[in-house]
Amino acid sequence: MTQLVYLVPLFPLIGFLINGIFWRKMPKTAGGVIGTLTILASFIVSLGIFFEVKNSGTATMVHLFDFINSGKLSIPFTFQVDALSSLFLLIITGVGFLIHVYSTSYMHEDEGMVKYFAYLNLFIFSMLLLVLGGNYLIMFIGWEGVGLCSYLLIGFWFKNRDYTNAAKKAFVMNRIGDLGFLVGMLLILYTYGTLSYQDFFGQLKGGQVIVSTSTYNWIAICLFIGAMGKSAQIPLYTWLPDAMAGPTPVSALIHAATMVTAGIYMIARSSALYNLAPMAQTLITWIGLATAIVAATIAMKQYDIKKVLAYSTVSQLGFMFLALGVGAYTTAVFHVMTHAFFKALLFLGAGSVIHAMGGEQDLRLMGGLGKKMRITQITFLIGCLAISGIPGFSGFFSKDEILAMAYAHDPILYYLGVFAAMMTAFYMFRLYFLAFTGIFRGTHDQEHHLHESPWAITIPLIILAILSVVGGYVGLPAVISEHHALASYLAPVVANTGEHHMLAGTEWMLMGISVSVSVLMIIVAYVRNKKPAFAPNTGVAKFLENKWYVDELYDAVIVRPIGAISRLLDRFAERAGIDGIVNGVGKLVGWGGDRVRLLQSGQVGFYIFVMVLGIIALFTLGFFWIR
């Protein structure tokens, strides 16, 4: 089965090609069905692979063809199937399939539906390349590929200038990160002469190449810059909230469940490297934590339902990086998985809401939707509980594990993490209460149209809701079960480092603290949003609503100066400067010609005079200069 791994990306590719080539002529439904079925097929294959890997536990290399072969540089197009990639395959195809199903309904009204599915399939294909690649370059291909798809999907409604701006921003920010990734890759190539995971990690472990820690750090940091872009970490996170311009399922798939976790995947994949790079790890830890907190604060004051979720995603990604930073790789992957479930759920739920609201996304104009949309409400609530880390839901297990690992690393991290988690609970439930409870605040027309979404939307919601609950049980905390199913599954590839065996009591206490603050915040959220009043925000709240003014800051510090410099260069350096010099030489020749011409006065006496002067000069030269 693992040898058939190429089928996994192949199906979406076929789907993409069919939809992409015939997008103008194909009926919408057919496009949706083809798109969905191909992902289903991939999912089935992925399942097979997953279980085979689970049984064998070994990594398999599937060599497809030579991609780049130049002298010492040999980069084959190879897939590596092991526990990590197979798990991600499952998440991607699984969640992806559900979102495809959801989309068949959600996008049905849109004229570009076939195109949409083509993009979606292409995205799945790229994402699969990313996780399947047997070396960094293949990963990079997928890495940029998902960036492209993200760009295309964010700008899906291309007539809207803001949307296309958002798409552009996403792409460019990703590219900044990609440059870091590229430099990282080149550093690896430079140092080790290979990009293949096996060779690279083998050499890292074997220590054939003696390098200093700073080299490790540099490689790790460069790769991490790539992850910053893709996984929306400070300072490259601002694209993600803007990316909500795309259709909601896209947000669910790309900007919550899969693409943004690519950074986590990559670092988890490179755990062998990061273990050797303490400085990079510290950096990751703090950046992750900062992201988690900053994004959470912003999320608390957003009114756009998708923006809240977007910042929540950023914040959760911050958690994952916190985990990576403290060496808890499997924990991070664990959180990726649970987060994929509940965040997809939340986004799809939000999509359902938006669908019902006729495109309205402002929380201030919602309220009381639960009455009309029971399934959506319940599944959404499950999602909220999961993300808030309420025991029994998947988020609890993964997040708690992160916090525990952080505590083990440094208690400060733990407290700050709990602070972020606390805010998570608050903003999620603020969202929930604002949208689903209370009275409807929208227009009468909208109220009239409120309805539960069709089955194609609700079924994925239900499935994801179930997963959001049970998903956590693959990684029970140590105090409950010694057998961490996920950790043991991933063990051949990646394992947590620095396992500090905590006392059971301590662990219980940590859980207790985090759960209780979350519950407390839910209550606070309920109280504050029971009868919401939307006065304009002031002070800190306004600061938060305006996202710390980071966009404005970037605009002032980076975007505008670059524009200004470009304009200056264009006008002065280019036209007046360099071209001016070139043209000036031409003009000088012309001017000189005009002057020298005047010597030709027409007076033969003057001509003879010049001749005599010439004779004198040449005589002087010939006699007194040479001799």
Binding site: G592, R597, Q600, Y607, M611, G614, L618, G622, W625
Partner: protein, 458 residues
């Protein structure tokens, strides 16, 4: 030697024909026939001259080798081409058509002397033989004041330069006691007599005047501009080539071993020539005057052959003289078809007379030195000769920059012809014969550019 006699006889025949032949057309025909005969004699000389050593004539007054007769042959060919292309226009200059051709034959005679002289007296006579007819030709359009002015200017300055030349020759004689250039080779480079050095410099200056090198070039634009266009074409080409071969011969054969003492002086002359010629040509409004300046610029390139004392220089001057002459004669032939000699006069020629525009383009490309035209090979040879000297790289680079400037004024004509609208007035209709001859000329230009060795086969 036979060529000198033949040229003289041709001249005399034409001179008398001036009295006998009344029809202008017949004079042209006679001139063509005589030039063909002259060409035949030259070719016979090429065949009969042994390749190895030069033949001495009349107590070593002349030493004619295969190279010299080949040079003569090619330039006689150019003259023939010139008469074929421009003969009709020569006939329009004035009433003494046959006499003009006689003068042309005498100039050829001077050329033959200058390519083979071995005595300074012969040099002096040769220079005078090519100069005096030129004074006359320049002033031959008596209806035109400019022509007379050109003639007088040329004459005064020419006579002045003759004085300089003679003083140079005298000083050289004072240093060596001989007029034979082969005897000058006994001059020692390390202990060079000041008289000899002064003589060399003065002769160099006089010859620079004849080849219109700066700062002794100032007659050139005025004379070439003022002279009847039909004769400018000849003066700027074959007559100038004759002065060049004299220059080259003297400085290679006689002073080659002394090159250290005069290279710098000549380099300065060369640089100045290139600079003045090119930069002044840029701002001209009249194509004819531009061509006059361009001939100065081209002379700058030909001086490279004189500076470089090596075998390539000999080849360079031959190829340069021929390529430059053919292209210049061609462009003058086109110019003569037009009423208006300004750049604007060329506007839209490509639409009206595509053949004329096309051949003019090829000629101009050749003058600019674009590959596959003769001009490129010519520049190539002289530059590579100079580079073989080793220490003249700066001059070569300077020359190349100037060559780039030359593109400016040559291409202005092309731009006018092809890219500007207009309806140029023609002097006379372009006949099939004209077209054929022009295309033939064009083919020669390309042939020189592609297979230069055909012109160097001796």
């Amino acid at each position: 030697m036979k060529a000198i006699i033949a040229a003289t006889i041709s001249g005399v025949i034409l001179m008398f024909a001036g009295i006998l032949v009344k029809e202008k057309k017949n004079a042209v025909t006679l001139a063509v026939i005589l030039l063909l005969a002259l060409l035949g004699v030259n070719i016979y000389e090429v065949v009969s001259t042994p390749a190895a050593a030069p033949q001495a004539f009349f107590n070593n007054m002349l030493r004619i080798d295969r190279y010299a007769v080949w040079f003569n042959t090619l330039l006689t060919g150019c003259t023939l081409l010139y008469v074929l292309l421009i003969g009709k226009e020569i006939a329009k200059v004035g009433s003494h058509v046959a006499e003009y051709f006689a003068l042309i034959c005498f100039i050829l005679c001077g050329l033959y002397i200058l390519s083979g002289y071995n005595n300074m007296l012969m040099l002096f006579l040769g220079i005078e033989i090519i100069s005096i007819p030129q004074y006359i030709l320049a002033g031959s359009d008596k209806k035109n004041l400019k022509s007379s002015e050109a003639s007088l200017k040329y004459f005064l300055m020419g006579a002045f330069s003759t004085g300089i030349l003679l003083m140079g020759i005298t000083l050289l004689y004072g240093a060596t006691g001989s007029f034979y250039i082969t005897n000058f080779t006994f001059l020692q480079a390390d202990s060079l007599n000041v008289l000899a050095l002064a003589g060399i410099i003065l002769v160099m200056i006089a010859l620079s005047f004849k080849v219109s090198a700066a700062p002794f070039h100032m007659w050139t634009p005025d004379v070439y501009d003022g002279a009847p266009t039909a004769f400018t074409a000849f003066m700027a080409t074959v007559a100038k080539a004759a002065a060049f071969i004299a220059f080259l011969r003297l400085f290679q054969v006689a002073f080659g071993s002394l090159s250290n003492s005069w290279t710098l002086v000549l380099s300065v002359i060369t640089a100045a020539t290139l600079f003045v010629g090119n930069i002044t040509a840029v701002f001209q409004q009249s194509v004819k005057r531009m061509l006059a300046y361009s001939s100065i610029a081209q002379a700058g390139f030909m001086l490279f052959a004189v500076i470089s004392v090596n075998a390539i220089a000999w080849q360079g001057i031959i190829i340069y003289a021929v390529a430059y002459s053919v292209a210049t004669i061609g462009i003058f032939a086109v110019l003569l078809k037009l009423k208006d000699y300004t750049y604007d006069g060329f506007n839209g020629l490509a639409q009206k007379e595509p053949t004329l525009a096309f051949v003019a383009t090829i000629f101009l490309l050749s003058l600019a030195g674009i590959p596959l035209t003769g001009g490129f090979m010519a520049k190539y040879y002289v530059l590579s000769a100079a580079m073989q000297q080793g220490h003249l790289m700066w001059l070569v680079i300077f020359a190349l920059l100037m060559a780039a400037i030359s593109v400016y004024y040559y291409f202005r004509v092309i731009i006018a012809m092809y890219f500007k609208p207009g309806n140029p007035e023609l002097n006379s209709p372009v006949t099939q014969t004209d077209k054929f001859l022009l295309i033939l000329t064009c083919a020669i230009v390309l042939l020189i550019g592609i297979f230069p060795q055909l012109f160097l086969s001796v």
